[in-house]
Structures are given as structure tokens and as C-alpha cells.
């Protein structure tokens, strides 16, 4: 029997008078990947932020292993890896050092080896000694994705991970997501790329009018 990891139950959320999510329920088990598709402004990012414990829904609950999804909970942060939005970098840290920082924060054994693997997987090996400011948008996205790979997690949440990636990088991303699920992790991603969702073996859902339904 699959272990249920993430549960969103009756989630409603809006901004001011504008409802975004209306009664969304979702259960995500270990070894499963779910891809949420939808038009711009459909509420995908909001859904992911609630699942990542970064926003509290107006109604309903978001739980991870039965505990509330709360990014301020250290155990939650140890369990959940997110790549939601581009952020700032340390101007004086190289790409490699950024990844080492994350690996060490999670007490990953043999962190240097793990980082080297992630750099190679994400085609960042040649840029390892560069500063992130020198990276293109696509390489910056790969750095964000690599940061989720150098640390342990039971749930991986990605918001449009295919942004700025070329076809080869997207294909590699799909394979990695499929491998994550096969190894027993759970993946929740929002994407505009149905092919990515399909190749990663994800169950496809669509967010329409604030509700989730199976995608066509």
C-alpha cells in the first residue's frame, strides 16, 4: 500500500475579492508524480505555495504526513524540496559553493561528490566555478533544479521547472522526475509543458476555475 505523503483537503484561497482556488483536494503518495496544468492565472503557483507551506489557505488544510504544511517547521523543510521562484544568490559564491551549502545544510554525506554529480547531471560542470550572476536564465534555472537534487527530500515541488530550458534539458528533467518517483519520492509540479508531464510519468491534473480535474 502506497504511503500518503501530501494531502490537500478542501483548500480554498483567494486574494482580496478574487477567488483563486475553490475546494481543491489532492492526495499525493510516495512514488507518485502529479503534474498540474492550467492557463496563466489559474492558480497553479498558489496551489504549490500552499503545498510548500509558504501560504496558508483561506479554508481547508494542507498536510504532510498528517502534519500541517508549514515552512517554518524544520522537519517539514528537511522533507520538502522546492524550486518555486527565482531568487537572489550570494554574489561571492560560485555555483559549486551554492550547491555545497545546500548539501551541507542537510548533512548529506560526501557532499562534494554529491554536488559533483548534480553539476554533471544538470550540465553545470563547466560553470561550476562561475558566479551565478554570470549565468544565463536557463543555467540559472538548472542551478535551482540542481539545488533540489543535492539534498534529500520526500516531496519535490517545482513550479514551471521547464522555464528557459532547451529541449535536451527538458528531456533530462523528465527522466530525473521519473527516477525520483521510482525511488519512492513524490513529485508535485506545475507546468505548461504537457510533454514534460507525460515523459515524467506524472498523473496529469488540470486546474480550471479553481478546481482540479483530470487533464484530457
Amino acid at each position: 500500500m502506497e504511503t500518503e505523503l501530501l494531502r490537500l483537503a478542501g483548500v480554498r484561497h483567494g486574494y482580496g475579492e478574487r477567488p483563486v482556488l475553490g475546494d481543491v483536494s489532492l492526495a499525493l503518495c510516495a512514488g507518485e508524480a502529479v503534474a498540474v496544468l492550467g492557463a496563466n492565472g489559474a492558480g497553479k503557483s498558489t496551489l504549490l505555495r500552499i503545498a510548500a507551506g509558504r501560504e496558508e489557505p483561506d479554508a481547508g488544510t494542507a498536510t504532510l504526513r498528517g502534519r500541517p504544511a508549514d515552512e517554518d517547521d524544520a522537519a517539514f523543510r528537511a522533507d520538502v524540496a522546492c524550486a518555486l521562484a527565482p531568487g537572489a544568490h550570494y554574489p561571492d559564491l560560485t555555483v559549486r559553493e551554492h550547491l555545497l551549502l545546500v548539501a551541507l545544510a542537510h548533512r548529506v554525506p560526501e557532499a562534494e561528490d554529491r554536488v559533483a554529480e548534480a553539476l554533471a547531471e544538470h550540465r553545470l560542470a563547466d560553470h561550476a566555478e562561475q558566479f551565478p550572476a554570470a549565468l544565463s536564465a536557463g543555467l540559472g534555472q538548472l542551478l535551482s533544479l540542481a539545488a533540489t537534487r543535492v539534498r534529500p527530500h520526500t516531496l519535490l515541488i517545482l513550479d514551471e521547472p521547464e522555464a528557459h530550458l532547451d529541449a535536451e534539458a527538458r528531456a533530462a528533467l523528465a527522466l530525473r522526475l521519473a527516477a525520483t518517483a521510482a525511488e519512492g519520492g513524490a513529485v508535485l509540479l506545475a507546468t505548461h509543458d504537457p510533454a514534460l508531464a507525460e515523459r515524467s510519468g506524472a498523473r496529469r491534473l488540470e486546474l480550471v476555475d479553481g478546481r482540479l480535474r483530470a487533464a484530457a
Partner: protein, 521 residues
């Protein structure tokens, strides 16, 4: 390879981070040393001579006089009010710039991971305590010295020490209030501390006004014992003989206890700061700093209100007019209705303008010019959106000059309609409207200040750069208001004054039409 989560994240990550950043440490230290050198230099040039003069005056109590005596009598009531005001101010500032802040990179690369929050946040809290403690002690000492110079009793050193201690206590209490505000942040829920502190400050200020008016000693004693904001001033009051030594000692002890308690509460609050508050404040602080260095106060102000705007209900929209010429006034009216504070300020300022004009005195007339310009500036605010980003108006079928004039329609109509019924009392008000709106429109459309404006010429009086910047920012009112000033002089008959005002108005509106904000790169 499937990674197994570690039991607990370790500060080793932070140790390694410090090691990684060793490379840039020398450069950061040089930069910090340079900033410290500049601060010390400016302090030595500007502050030290005044401090020396103050110490000298205090030694000889050179500022004695009836006003100084009255101020000293009211000081026991005034100091707690000032302290409460400082606490309210600290809590208000913490809404967008709390004392416990993380750099943007740490927010993105450390906060989402199980790095112990204590290792990240407590050093920032301790630094805030140091800054606030010293930042409170210095003005406390200066105020005590000034009071001594005004004829305060007792030894100067004792009063100064007591003032410094009281100031440090208020600074630390302010830091605690600020951290509490961050912990229970108004952007993400109800926050009770700020309104309470604001009410307290208002009540104590009213009390101090009463003390000034009545000159009764009871007022001061009541304020001094009203809470930690007053206990901090009791040692100073004792050192200057206004209360007994026992009261001073008790007050000092109570203040110390209050500070310790507040710091413990602040420590707990800091450890529980929500990540979303830290993230949002880092973002807002970044936007504000960028606008500040670009010498654009309006963008800086907009950065502070952005989080509130994002959460505010959009409200019901006005029906879109069918007449094309009404489209921009409709757009501007919608903007004003969604910023009621701004619209209310404009109305209040225009009311003050009409009242000042009705007085009939030349000085009141000049003041009316200033308030009238400020009123127009509030109502013309929606016109700034296009000057900030030319793309905003690119889809509209009008040239930039035509847009500028169309944006003047609503403010002009509002000011004219409101002043017309009162034309018997303030006949010049309607005639000033075109000039005031024109000047406000030119200011609204100036865009970001070019950096070249700040490059001045060295003169015996100093660098002209800051003056050039001020002139650039205020060029419209600096030209238009003096042109209107002669019309407010007594003895000038109405018809020529109105004609001259309308002529200035036509020139100001023509200037509006030809003003172009520099394109941002």
C-alpha cells in the same frame, strides 16, 4: 542515489559558508571601513563642534531663561511621551524594515532548508540590540546635557549618565517592540501592538501638552510612573532633583527589569519569525533601497505600500464612460478612489488653501500657494504612472503631451468645482487652479532624476550637486509659485490678479505638454 534525510541540519553549513565567503571578506571589510571612515569624518565635522558647544553650555548652564525653565518643568511629562513616541515609531518602522533581517541570498539559500533559525536570526537580533541601545543612549545623553544647559539641577555628569541610561532603555524597548511587530505582522494577520503604542503615545503627548499648559508637578509624576517609557526617565528626574533618589532608584530598577523582560520576549519572537515575513521584508527593503539610491522618493514610498496594495480588495469599478474624452479622467478617478488616503489628503490640503486665502493676509496667501500646489500634486498622482514606464501609455492613441493635458482634466475639474461656491471668500482660488495643476503635472511627469544632475561643481560654499538635485526635483513649483505670488499681495485688484494667474496657468499647462520624462534604460 536516494538520499536519506539527516536528523538535524548542522551549522556546519554556516561555517562552510563563512569559509566560502573568505574570498570577498577583504573587499567587504574595506567597504565597511570606508563607510565607517565617512561616518566618523562627517561626525567630526558636523557633530563634534556642536557637541563641544553643548558641553560648554551645560557646564555653565548658559541657556537659562523663562522658556527654558518652563520646558524643564514640563520635561517629566514630556520625556515619557517622547519615549512612547519612539516605541510607536519603532513598531511602525518594523512593518517594512524589521530589526531582524536577512540578506536576499540567505532568504533564498538558507531559509528553506533545515538550518537552525537561531544560528541565522539571533546574531541579527543581537546586532539590533547593540544599534538600538547605542542609538538610544546617545540622544538620551544629548537631551540630558541640553536640559542641564537650560538650567537643570544636580551634577551634569549624573544627569548625562542617567539620560544615556534612560535612552538606552528606550532604544532596547523599541527593538523589542519592533521584533514583536515582525513576529505578529500586520501584512499576514491582525497586529495589536502598533495601534496600542500609537494610542499610548497620543495620550501621553496630550498629557504633556496639559503639563505645559498647567505647569503642575503632578502631571510629570503621573507620566513618569505610567510605565516603562516613564520609568526610564526616573533616574534622570532624580539626578536633577525633580523626584527623590529612592524614586529614581526604583524607576531605574523597574526600567531594567522591563528591558530584560522585553529582550527575553523579543528573543522568543525572533526565533519564531515566519519565513514569509523575512522574505517579504527583504524584497521590500531591496526595492526601497534601490529607489532611495535613485533619489526617487515616490518609488521608495510605492515600494513600502506594495504589499498592502497586493492584498487590498479591488472594490467595485466605476462604469466605463462611452465618451472618449472622459476615458482618462475616469481612469484617474478610479486611481484616486483606490487610494483614499491620497485623495483625502488632496481634499484636506485644498480646504486649507481656501481657508488661508479667505484670511486675506499676504503671508497666508503665500502659504495658500504652497498648500494649493500640494493639493494639486496629490490629485495629479495618477499621471505619474506613465512617466515611470513609457510602456504604460504606449497602447493609448494619444501623444505624451496630449496625455499630460488629459490627466490634468480631473484634478482641474475637482479643484474648480470645489472652489467655485466659495469664490466670494477666495476669489483667486479658481484662477490659480490651471497654474497649480500645471506645476503639479510637470512634477509628476519628470521621471527619475538623471545621475548627471548630482554631479556638481566645487565652490567655496561646497558642492552644488545636492542643490542641483533639489532644484531639479522642485523646478516646477519653484518657478510657478513665485510667479503667482504677486497676486496674493494685498492692494492688488482682483481682475489683473485673475488675468495674471490665468496667464501663468496657460504657461504651466504648455510646459506640461512639452515635459518629457527621460527614458529608463
Amino acid at each position: 542515489m536516494r538520499l536519506v534525510p539527516g536528523r538535524r541540519a548542522t551549522p556546519e553549513a554556516l561555517v562552510r559558508l563563512a569559509a566560502f565567503r573568505t574570498r570577498g571578506r577583504a573587499a567587504r571589510r574595506r567597504q565597511a571601513s570606508y563607510v565607517a571612515y565617512c561616518v566618523l569624518l562627517l561626525t567630526a565635522i558636523y557633530a563634534v563642534p556642536y557637541l563641544a558647544a553643548l558641553v560648554d553650555a551645560a557646564a555653565e548652564r548658559r541657556w537659562r531663561g523663562p522658556t527654558a525653565e518652563r520646558a524643564l518643568e514640563a520635561a517629566p511629562a514630556a520625556l515619557p511621551a517622547l519615549a512612547a513616541l519612539a516605541l510607536a515609531g519603532a513598531a511602525q518602522l518594523a512593518v517594512w524594515r524589521g530589526p531582524v533581517r536577512l540578506p536576499a541570498a540567505a532568504v533564498h539559500w538558507l531559509l528553506p532548508h533545515p538550518v537552525p533559525r537561531a544560528a541565522l536570526l539571533l546574531p541579527r537580533l543581537r546586532l539590533a540590540w547593540l544599534v538600538n541601545g547605542v542609538g538610544g543612549a546617545l540622544p538620551g545623553a544629548v537631551v540630558a546635557l541640553a536640559a542641564h544647559a537650560a538650567g537643570g539641577r544636580g551634577a551634569a555628569w549624573a544627569a548625562t549618565l542617567a539620560g544615556a541610561g534612560g535612552g538606552a532603555a528606550v532604544g532596547l524597548l523599541g527593538a523589542a517592540a519592533a521584533v514583536w511587530t515582525q513576529r505578529h505582522h500586520p501584512w499576514f494577520g491582525r497586529a495589536r501592538l502598533r495601534p496600542v503604542l500609537a494610542l499610548l503615545a497620543a495620550a501621553l503627548l496630550a498629557h504633556a501638552c496639559g503639563a505645559w499648559a498647567s505647569q503642575g508637578a503632578g502631571w510629570g509624576r503621573a507620566a513618569l510612573w505610567s510605565g516603562p517609557w516613564g520609568w526610564a526617565a526616573l533616574p534622570w528626574a532624580a539626578a536633577t532633583g525633580r523626584v527623590s533618589a529612592v524614586e529614581g532608584a526604583c524607576g531605574g530598577a523597574l526600567a531594567a527589569l522591563a528591558v530584560v523582560g522585553a529582550l527575553l520576549v523579543a528573543r522568543r519572537a525572533a526565533l519564531a519569525l515566519p519565513a514569509r515575513v523575512l522574505r517579504q521584508q527583504t524584497r521590500v527593503a531591496g526595492m526601497f533601497t534601490a529607489a532611495f539610491y535613485g533619489a526617487d522618493p515616490r518609488v521608495a514610498r510605492a515600494a513600502l505600500s506594495a504589499p498592502r496594495r497586493a492584498r487590498r480588495a479591488t472594490g467595485r469599478a466605476l462604469r466605463v464612460p462611452r465618451a472618449r474624452w472622459l476615458l482618462l479622467p475616469w481612469r484617474d478617478l478610479l486611481a484616486l478612489l483606490r487610494a483614499p488616503l491620497r485623495a483625502g489628503s488632496g481634499v484636506a490640503l485644498w480646504g486649507a488653501t481656501l481657508a488661508l486665502l479667505a484670511v486675506g493676509h499676504p503671508v497666508a496667501g503665500v502659504a495658500a500657494l504652497v498648500t494649493g500646489y500640494l493639493a494639486a500634486a496629490q490629485l495629479v498622482e495618477p499621471a505619474r504612472w506613465e512617466s515611470e514606464n513609457h510602456e504604460r501609455g504606449a497602447a493609448l492613441p494619444w501623444s505624451r503631451g496630449a496625455l499630460a493635458l488629459r490627466h490634468a482634466l480631473l484634478p482641474g475639474a475637482l479643484l474648480l468645482l470645489s472652489s467655485a461656491p466659495l469664490v466670494a471668500f477666495a476669489p483667486l482660488a479658481p484662477a490659480w487652479v490651471p497654474a497649480l495643476v500645471g506645476a503639479a503635472s510637470v512634477s509628476a511627469r519628470r521621471g527619475a532624476m538623471p545621475a548627471s544632475v548630482l554631479l556638481g561643481t566645487q565652490t567655496p560654499m561646497g558642492d552644488t550637486g545636492p542643490l542641483q538635485a533639489l532644484l531639479w526635483l522642485g523646478r516646477a513649483p519653484l518657478l510657478v509659485l513665485p510667479a503667482l505670488a504677486p497676486t496674493s499681495l494685498s492692494g492688488v485688484s482682483t481682475a489683473p490678479a485673475v488675468a495674471w494667474s490665468l496667464a501663468v496657468g496657460a504657461a504651466a499647462l504648455a510646459w506640461t505638454r512639452h515635459t518629457r520624462a527621460p527614458r529608463s534604460t
